[in-house]
Amino acid sequence: MNLFFLIGIGGAVGFLSGLFGVGGGFLLTPLLIFAGVPSPVAIASVTGQVAASSTSGALSYYRRNAIDLHLALYLILASTIGSMIGVTIFSVLRAAGQLDLFIAVAYLLLLGFLGTLMMTEAVRSIMRRRSGVVMRDKLPSQHSWMHGLPMRIRFKKSKLYISVLPVLAIGLFIGIVGALLGIGGGFILVPALVYLLRVPANVVVGTSLLQVVAMMCVTTILQALTSQSVDILLAFCLMVGGTVGAQFGASAGKYLRGDQLRALLALLILGVAIRFGLTLVLKPSDVFSMAILTAGGLG
């Protein structure tokens, strides 16, 4: 695969991730698969790229003291276990020849759901602005059933006194999904932290970024050990393109309105979801395929 193509695709997705303020893994992995990169390689390599693109963000939030390290530690521990489970499932699916199917279905559901949600929200917001009605978003209520669970821990920075169980559950889920799909999962983690745990806005993004960096590092090492499908050259091209592209994306984002941006992103996400849907229902050009089970012949 062409070096410039890879830096280019990394840069384009980095631009989008900077523009929309998302990690980009959930766009980069599908794009690489559509470009012909085998899905195990795409997933494992994008994992490395997500670690890189989240690092600069996490560092700047850390400098601004906007990370709840205590909460992040619990999330990282749980997501490490989740990542191990995810990588194991990944290997089993790959050996059974069902990894591509799983990825297509998972991305179709995940992106379809996310895209629809974002689209309706963005359209509603645009309509509201057009009609001139000013409405405040409902603030999440202070208590939920989550707060009734046992094993409560005080997270000082987030000003929370909550059960550790939902924290661990969220970390575990993100770890499994992240390892399986090659995504950081920030777009799941941030809403989960805000709406389920009521983590305050000033620390939620930083904490989420730190957790993504740690989880993606762990997953990269696990993928290198078990599936050996991390392509370090591919990952590095994506890292360079992605981190540079993100800076330009962030500057460009200042000239566009938030709801328009979200509508654009929703369109993009829905497009990728539809593309995955098509690979499931259209007859493949070749119904037979082959794969190597053992990599023999090493010098």
Partner: protein, 252 residues
């Protein structure tokens, strides 16, 4: 008497069918391929001699050379449509299947060898598939998936039957060329030469050579297989370093 019998038996082992002796060689015993280039061309030479001194070998002869690359376990999968969705529903595993298989010949295989000879020597690519399938040799499913596997390998340029690839320089000397693509597996290759006369096998011989890929890409590939932990750590360090650098460089 017994010693004479033993000597006769040994003689019989050394020259299986006829009075011909085959001498052959490959142009290099180690082939270096740079991963990003087109591959390497290897030449094979051979001469036919008579086993009886003073008697010239009488042709016409034909030659088949089979080049086999390192063996790998491979799986062929079939997608079918279930409830509107295309999924892999059936697969056959081929144990120790060659990663590279090139049949070179001095003429149409059917014209230079009897089907029995081709069959007995496992020359045809499809026989590689049927003899390695885990389902057993007789299975029709193994034959079906084997045919498709050979087709896929041929599409990738790793399997071929080239019936005009061997050229006779004289009645008793031949030369052949084989192109090894840059994505062949590293490791031991075997060139097995069959000498044929009147469609029958009269002598055979095999040479080994090694393919060693060089260059940075191959170094990285080998590292990922042999030092996976170190490889993963380097990748993580690269990610953190790139991210940190970008953060410093673009700090606002």
């Amino acid at each position: 008497m017994r010693r004479l019998l033993l000597a006769l038996m040994l003689l019989g082992l050394a020259t299986p069918a006829g009075a011909e002796k085959l001498a052959s060689t490959v142009s290099s015993s180690t082939v270096q391929i740079t991963s990003s280039f087109d591959g390497a061309v290897l030449s094979l030479f051979g001469t036919i001699d008579s086993n009886t001194p003073g008697l010239a070998p009488t042709g016409p002869y034909n030659v088949i050379v089979v080049i086999t690359g390192p063996l790998q376990d491979r799986v062929a999968r079939l997608k079918t449509n279930n409830w509107g969705i295309w999924t892999n529903t059936d697969q056959v595993t081929f144990k120790q299947f060659p990663s590279f298989y090139d049949v070179l010949a001095s003429g149409k295989l059917d014209n230079i060898a009897t089907p029995d000879v081709l069959e007995a020597q496992n020359v045809l690519p499809i026989q590689q598939a049927t003899s390695t399938a885990t389902l057993g040799e007789g299975s029709t499913k193994a034959a079906e998936f084997g045919t498709e596997l050979v087709r896929l390998m041929t599409q990738e340029g790793h399997f071929a039957v080239r019936e005009d690839a061997i050229r006779f320089l004289s009645n008793t000397a031949y030369v052949a060329q084989v192109t090894l693509p840059s994505d062949v597996a590293n490791g031991p290759f075997i060139a097995h030469t069959y000498l044929l006369k009147d469609k029958q096998l009269v002598a055979d011989r095999s040479e080994g050579f090694t393919v060693r890929k060089t260059g940075f890409e191959n170094f990285v590939f080998v590292a990922s297989k042999q030092q996976p932990l170190l490889y993963g750590l380097v990748c993580v360090a690269l990610a953190l370093g790139t991210g940190w650098l970008a953060g410093v460089a673009f700090r606002r």
